[in-house]
Structures are given as C-alpha cells and as structure tokens.
Symmetry: C2
Subunit: 147 residues, 2 copies
C-alpha cells in the first residue's frame, strides 16, 4: 500500500449546513455533489474532501449507524487501479496490524472497495473507482463508472 | 480562505503503536518525527498527515484534554503566508458561519496560528509556518522556524 490519501470523508450531522459554510460561506466550489446527500470539494493536488451524513458513512463501512460520530467521524481513502489491488492493500494492512472492517467487495458507487481500521481505530477505505480521474495539474473529476 | 488542506492531524491513543503500523508495518517513511510524540507522513502532493496524542492536540487547540477523542479526533490545517493572513482566514471562517476556537496567536511550533470549528464541529487550524516548504514535485520539508 503506497503512502497516498485520495479522499477524506468527514461525517457531518447536516450536509446542507456543511454546504452553506464551505460553498456559500467560504466560496469553495464543489467538484461533484448529490444535493442534500454528499458534497465533494477539491482541497489539494488530487485530493478531495467529502462531506457526508454520519449514518450513510457508517452504512458504507458496513457498521451500525451509531458507529460513526458526526462532527469528527472520518474515513481516509486510498485509490488503486483494480479490484485485485484492493484485496492486496487490505491484506497489507491486516499484515501490518490493521483490522479488517469490510472485506473487498463491489461498492455502492459502482466500483470495488473494502475498509480496514488502523490500531487507533482510524478507518481507511481502499477503493477501485474507474470513474475517478486525476489530470496532470492534480484536478480530480468524478465520472460515471462503467461496469 | 482558499480551498486547500495542507495537514491532517489525527489524534491517536498511542503514537508508538501508530508508528509501528504505518512506518514499520506499511513501510511509509516519516517526513519528520519527534520519537514518542508525533510522526508526520507525506500522503499527497504537498499534503502531510500527523499522528499525535489526543491530549496534546487538544492542548494545541486550547481545549481541555478530553475534548479530542483518540481514534478519530482530527484537525485539518490550512497554511498561509503571514500572520496577517492567519487573522484574515479566521475572520473569513467566522463570517461564513464558523466558530472561533483559538484566536490568532504565536504557536508552539514557532510560527503563528489559530483554530476555528465548522458548523459540524470539525476543527481547522489556520497556520503561518515559515519552516514549511513545498518543492515543485509536492514534497514537503519541515525545517526550523526563524523568529
């Protein structure tokens, strides 16, 4: 598993309130959003931050709704090139002392993913998302996933 | 305040255990560390992740030790070029609906900083750190701070 963070997902109690602050308040432009559900902001070279409901993030991790606290609950994502690499990274993490939370499997976004927790309980998603593209200047675009 | 995340600090219960996982387990090389206290990893173009004790992170924010939970407590940092910009960004954040946690002031690392919370309670540090340098290829170096 290479040292790279692609997406930081923050669990918020109210996605609309988070959007008002970052988009309307600070003037940051969403890269992609599903109104009332999730907002993605580009905050670095190839780096997105997602603002998502705590219950939805917990469900995506395969955890009960109360397992992720709003206002701090988070997920760090590491993107790779294939489902095979998702499995290999999860194996690497477990071999390094991590705990498997969600085995590698097809993901709701159309790609393939799994989750592990580091020794502190911090959750990482390892994902293969064929719709995620990073341009030479670091700009991320999220497109439809084929297959 | 520009849309940019420079440092993600994760509150961990045990810095040595976190180091064993990321550095010895996954093989990620620290950019900078103070043994037993804090470890910085480079996880993107110009992006560091810091692994720090929850009590120390809370103290840096000017909050009581129990205010930051290990295993999920976090701080997002935004670097700027001067103390004046620190003050301006904090004003921007408050004007956008954020809550000031720690007013702009000299920081323990030798620079200048302050903290605000977004509407979900997620904490951002706005910092001026003259010892922080980003090379053209995105590599971050942390050097001594003069003055």
């Amino acid at each position: 598993m290479q040292p790279r963070l692609d997406l930081l997902t923050l669990a918020v109690p109210d996605v609309a309130a988070a959007r008002r602050f970052y988009v309307e308040g600070l003037g940051w432009r969403p890269v992609f959003e599903v109104p009332g559900e999730i907002v993605f902001l580009q905050l670095g070279h190839g780096l997105l931050v997602g603002l998502w409901g705590a219950a939805e993030l917990a469900a995506d991790m395969g955890l009960p709704a109360g397992a992720v606290s709003p206002g701090g609950g988070l997920s760090l994502a590491h993107n790779v090139g294939s489902p095979e690499e998702v499995r290999r990274c999860l194996d690497d993490a477990v071999a390094a002392g991590g705990r498997l939370l969600k085995p590698a499997q097809p993901a709701a976004f159309g790609g393939y993913h799994g989750y592990f927790a580091d020794p502190a309980g911090i959750r990482w998603e390892v994902a293969h998302n064929p719709g995620w593209a990073v341009a030479d200047d670091g700009t991320v675009t999220l497109g439809p996933v084929d297959g």
